[in-house]
C-alpha cells in the first residue's frame, strides 16, 4: 500500500476507529493513543495488508489487539482503569429522547461482552456484516443472524424495562 492510499483510508476510517476505541476504553487520551498506535502499526505493517485483503477488517483487528494490550498492561501494572463520565464520551446530550436513550444504553451494558462487541462493531463503528464477519472469523450470514437475534432480544428486554 502506498502512502497516498493509506491517507485515503485514514480519512475514511479515522473516526470509526476512534469511536470504536473510545467506546471500549472510555477515556479520551487512551482512545487517542490507541488510535495513533493502530494507524502507525497499519502503516508499519502495510505489506501484510495486501495479503489479507480487507482493509477495514484488518484495521479493526489491530485496534482490538491494541485495546487488549491496553487492558492487559493496566492489569499487569495493577493500575485501575480510569474511565470518564458518560457526558464526556457520548454524544446524545442534545437528543430529545435523552432519558430513554440513556436507559437503553444501560440495558446494552448488561449484555455479555461478546454481544456488546457485536453491537459496538455494528452500531458504533458502523461496519457491515461482511467486515464484521472477517474480524470475528464467522460467516456474514452467521453475523447477520446473531445481530438480528440480539436486537430482538434487546428490544424485548428494553420494552419490558420501560413498562
Amino acid at each position: 500500500m502506498r502512502k497516498a492510499e493509506l491517507n485515503e483510508f485514514y480519512d475514511e476510517w479515522i473516526q470509526a476507529i476512534y469511536r470504536y476505541t473510545l467506546s471500549r476504553v472510555k477515556h479520551v487520551d487512551d482512545a487517542q493513543d490507541i488510535t495513533s498506535q493502530t494507524f502507525l502499526s497499519a502503516w508499519q505493517n502495510r505489506e501484510r495488508y495486501q495479503e489479507r485483503g480487507e482493509f477495514a477488517a484488518w484495521l479493526f483487528s489491530i485496534a482490538r489487539n491494541k485495546i487488549k494490550d491496553h487492558f492487559r498492561q493496566a492489569q499487569r501494572k495493577q493500575n485501575r482503569i480510569q474511565t470518564l463520565g458518560d457526558d464526556e464520551i457520548y454524544k446524545l446530550s442534545a437528543e430529545p429522547q435523552h432519558e430513554t436513550l440513556i436507559a437503553l444504553r444501560q440495558v446494552i451494558s448488561t449484555l455479555s461482552e461478546k454481544d456488546q462487541e457485536l453491537i459496538r462493531l455494528r452500531y458504533v463503528a458502523g461496519l457491515d456484516f461482511a467486515t464484521i464477519a472477517k474480524i470475528s472469523r464467522r460467516s456474514p450470514a452467521a453475523c447477520r443472524k446473531a445481530c438480528s437475534r440480539l436486537v430482538a432480544k434487546l428490544k424485548a428486554h428494553f420494552e419490558q424495562e420501560q413498562e
Binding site: 473516526q15 505489506e47 436486537v151
Partner: protein, 486 residues
Amino acid sequence: MTKLNTNSLNPFEEKISLAIQVKDAPEDFTQTLKSQLESIPESKEMAQNLRLKSPKMRWAVAGISLALIAVIVVFAIGPKKVWAEISSFLQRLPGVGNVEDLGESCVLAKPMSITQEGYTITLEALSSTDKKSWVRFSLDGWQGDRDFYYMMIREFGKLQYNIDTIKPQSTFVGDIYQSELLYLEYELPPVCHAKDFRLAFLSLPASKQNMAPEVWEFEPKLRAAQKEDTLPKNDQGFLSSEEHEGITMQILAYYETPKFTGLSYRFQTPSLRNSVSLLGGWNPSNPMIVDSEGNNYYEQDRRSASSHFGYFSMVNKMPHDESFHLNSPSMMLYWNELDFEILENKAPITIDFSANFEKGHEWKLDFWYEYDYPHKIYFDKVVYRESPPHLEVHYGTDNDINYIQLYCFSDVAPLCKGCPYSSTEGVFRIGLAEKPSGQLKLGLYSVSREIEPPEGWTIDFTLDELPKAEWLPLYDVPYIVPEQRP
C-alpha cells in the same frame, strides 16, 4: 462496501445507534496524527524493492520444500526412521534453523553492549549460514512503557550492513516486550565472510521526544559455529493433551529469563502440514495457565509461527517446584492445501465441457473430500449459469465451517487460474469469459473451522517435564513426524 448503510436501520436499531454514539475524534488530534503518518519515510518499500523475494515467501518456500522432502523421505525409508535419519545430519542453530554443515556457519563470539544516556542496547546473539543470518538485540532502560514508543523503534530501527554502503536489507523478524526489556530480532544477508561488518541502530526517534542518541554501532566479532552453539534436539515427543476431533495440543518447550517464562505450544492435526491457530475474534480463547493453588498466570504476549513451530506465550515467572494446568477452550483450524503437486496436477474434480449443454446444466459430483482426518467437505454439483456466464459449485460440510476457498485451473475461466475465491453460503461462483468448452479442474484450497470441545484441551505439567529452550523459541521448535492415522 465495508460500512453500515444507516438507511437500512429499523427504528429500534436507530435508537441503539443513538444511545451508544460516542463523540468524534477532535480535529486537532486527527490532523496531528495524519501529519505524523505522512512524516514517516517510505524507506521500507525501498528496502523491499531491493530484495528478490519477501522473507515470508522465502520461509514459505523453505517450509514447503522441507515438507516435501519429509514426505519423500517418509515414503522412502518409513516414518519411524525419519527423525533419526534427519537428526543424524542436521544441526539447529538459533534463528537460522537447520544447517547441514556447521563449518559453513558462524556465530557471535560474545555478546556486546553499548550504553548511552540511560539506554543499553545489547547485541545478544547472531547466527549466520551461507544463506542468511539472524541477529537478536535487547534494549534496556526504556523510560516509558507505552507500546507507541517501541512501535516507533520497530519502524525506524534500521540495521546498517557494512559501514561503507548502507544496505537496508535487514528484515524485522519479531519482538518480545517484557517489562523494561525489549528484544528485537532481525534477519540479514550472510555475514560470515563479510569484511568490515558492522551493525548499527541509526536512530530511535520518539524516544524521550527524540532526545535519545543517534547511533549505536556494533562491530561484532564472529567465530565458526561449533557443536555447543546448536540447540538441543528433542525426539522424545512432547507432553500432549487428550485428542478432540483428531487434534491434540502439545507443549513444546519452555524458555526463561530472570523475569518471565515463555511456553511454546502448538495444536497438532493428523497431517501436521496444515495451519492452525487459536481462536481470535470477539470470543477470545486465550490459553489459561493455573497453578495448583488456582493462581492464574496470565498470558502477556503471544507470537505465532507456522503450525510446525506453534505459538510462544509469555507469562510471569513460573516456579519449577509447582505443577500447572494449561487449558485452551477452543481453537480455529485453518487448513490449507500446500501440496503443489495436488494443486497443479491432481485436482480432485474435473468438469468436462465437451458435450453440448445449456444454461442450468448440472454436473453431479457427489464427492466427499477428506481434507484432514476426520474433517471433510461434500461437493454436490456444478451448475452452469449465464448473464454473465459463471459456474456455481454447490458444497456442504458435516460440521460448521467459517469459510472455504476453492482453487481451479482452466483455460476457459480467466478468473480461475489457481486463485482462490471465498464463499460462505454453500455455493461457490466461478466467473467465465464465455460459455466454456474445455476442461476445468477444481479442488479445495483452504477451510477454517472453529472447534470447541466441551472442556477444551488440557495439559497438566511441571516445567521440569518440558524441554528447555535456550533461545526465544519462535523459530526453533524441532519438527516431529506425526503418528500415522488410520
